[in-house]
């Protein structure tokens, strides 16, 4: 539904018609990685679909995301807040988070 300029009523109809699909799209088992990665969505939107000025992950490749996260952790990449956050995770955890978001639907 994202990106459709629809009126509220139309949107509602779409919402209902597409809802089972949408659910399949966003559903995910609550495993360890999901719980860790979903904490990121507070800033970056559900599944990394940022709706505002925060960087979105949708459409990003896993390797790209991994590099960015590693560089935040090491300090190689300039940041405002992500350096402080990335330091809390091991490289393996960052990779798992990157794989998770890369595997989510665009």
């Amino acid at each position: 539904m994202r990106g459709f300029p629809v009126t509220p009523v139309l949107r509602l109809a779409f919402g209902l018609a597409l809802a089972p699909l949408a659910l399949v799209g966003t559903a995910h088992a609550a495993d360890q990685v999901a719980v860790m990665a979903d904490a990121c969505s507070g800033c970056h939107g559900t599944d990394g679909h940022s709706v505002g000025g925060m960087p979105a992950f949708s459409g990003k490749k896993a390797d790209e995301l991994k590099k960015v996260l590693h560089d935040f952790k090491s300090g190689a990449r300039e940041a405002t807040v992500m350096d402080r956050i990335a330091k809390a995770y091991s490289v393996e955890q960052l990779d798992a988070i990157a794989d998770y978001f890369a595997s989510r639907k665009k």
Binding site: V9, L12, A13, G15, L16, A17, A19, P20, A22, L23, T26, A27, H28, A29, A30, D31, Q32, A34, V35, M36, D38, A39, C40, S41, G42, C43, H44, G45, T46, H49, S50, V51, G52, G53, M54, T80, V81, R84, I85, A86, K87, A88, Y89
Partner: protein
């Protein structure tokens, strides 16, 4: 499908949001029942993520209000940067997109023995597990003379809604040269940097519109969240407007008089044009009524599942919970909600719940183009939620304009994202 559509459509269109949204996708929810009390950051996120992690669950959300006005960004409303509609969150998408049943009603009683929730509207809801995320309530008369009636004269504006509008009107009506008093409480309280963001934005408003005015922060504490960063910004921008008086210099407000408009510390008496009194707080009343709070006024919980240590099958999240190092913030509430949702699903399956992994990131605006932040990642250590060492912390001191501007922009981006992640 047609039938379900019509039902939901009628509920939505006919009621301006005030009726229940019980149709939608809920028809396919045949699994265990989870009832969520409160549709703020904690409750809304919990309801959405329960359905995301297990669409078969039967999830019901009950909020006393037809929509939720967020405290985050309510400080921008006070000074005219945004309007009330900007901070209004509706519950309809939780129903139409995620299949949560939504009811507008006040929960008045919880019976853990029979697992039933009762509402002011006379409804009863049975649950297998209950999530309680009612936010805060106030300790009236902890400051002498500051009761609920007094808050209609000297607003707290610490729950967004009519209180926000009242404080905004008072700021608009005050004369150039008037005094604004903000009185933050001691710890713990909702949103530790909140009073100081508010002071900053109000000082900016005064500087522009009523430059002869002063703003006095009469504090019950000697230190506060991000204090060095706030003071750095104040010195640059509001040196002649803001004065912060710590508890050690008798800043603590001990008495107010709503009739003559005076505010007192142990040593001084003020007559401000606008008095924003933020009283000490407890967990939301329903948590106390249901026996979920200890003598601190907040609710002890298991650090991995948020299940109450005082009542089985009831989970408490958000501001109402005692959550170790996690501050009482919207981000914390929302992050806890996801952990709690996953834990509930594991418990239904008879599995061991996963260990907590949670984040808090809080932005404060010192000015519309000047943002600062604090961040932390949390895990359970020695039975308590603790921030992970050698990470997190606050924005650097002495950063340049571009850096502060970027964080101000991220503050807005954060707000848009978390509202999407919680309610849509």
């Amino acid at each position: 499908m047609t039938k379900i559509s019509r039902r939901s459509f009628n509920a939505l269109v006919g009621a301006a949001g005030a009726l229940s949204l019980a149709g939608g996708l809920s028809a396919c929810s045949s699994g265990p029942r989870v009832v969520v009390v409160g549709g703020g950051f904690g409750g809304a996120t919990a309801a959405k993520y329960l359905k995301r992690y297990d669409p078969s669950l039967d999830v019901t959300l009950i909020d006393a209000q037809a929509s939720h006005f967020t405290c985050p960004f309510s400080n921008t409303v006070l000074v005219g940067m945004n309007d009330m509609a900007y901070i209004e969150r509706k519950f309809d998408k939780l129903n139409t997109m995620h299949g949560v049943k939504v009811f507008t009603d006040m929960v008045t009683a919880i019976d853990p023995a029979t697992k039933v929730v009762k509402t002011a509207g006379g409804k009863t809801f049975e649950y297998d597990r209950l999530i309680v995320s009612p936010g805060i309530d106030f300790k009236w008369n902890a400051i002498e003379g500051y009761d609920e009636a007094a808050s209609n004269v000297m607003p707290h504006a610490w729950k967004a809604g009519p209180q926000t509008v009242l404080l905004k009107k008072q700021l608009e009506a005050m004369p150039n040269g008037g005094l604004v008093v903000i009185a933050p409480p001691g710890n713990p309280f909702r949103c530790p940097p909140g009073p100081y963001e508010r002071a900053s934005l109000i000082a900016g408003y005064l500087k522009k519109h009523k430059p002869k005015s002063k703003l006095l922060i009469l504090d019950a504490k000697d230190a506060f969240a991000k204090d060095k960063l706030f003071k750095e910004g104040w010195e640059k921008m509001y040196d002649d407007i803001i004065e912060w008086v710590p508890a050690a210099k008798n800043g603590k407000v001990t008495k107010v008089n709503a009739k003559d408009g005076t505010v007192e510390t142990d040593f001084e008496k003020f007559k401000p044009a606008v008095a924003n009194i933020i009283p000490p707080q407890t967990a939301g009343q329903i948590a106390i009524t249901a026996g979920l709070a200890d003598k601190s006024g907040f609710c002890p919980v298991d650090p991995n599942t948020f299940e109450s240590t005082l009542a089985k099958n009831i989970h408490v999240i958000g501001d109402a919970a005692i959550a170790g190092d996690m501050p009482k913030s919207g981000y914390s509430a929302s992050s806890q909600a996801k952990v709690c949702a996953a834990a509930i699903i594991a418990l239904f399956k008879g599995e061991k719940p996963l260990p907590l992994s949670a984040i808090n990131t809080c932005y404060s605006l010192v000015a519309p183009d000047y943002g600062i932040s604090v961040a932390a990642v949390f895990a359970v250590k020695d039975g308590k939620i603790a921030s992970i060492p050698n990470s997190g912390g606050v924005s650097p001191m002495g950063a340049n304009y571009q850096f502060r501007k970027k964080e101000a922009d991220f503050a807005v981006g954060w707000y848009q994202s978390i509202c999407q992640d919680s309610w849509a």
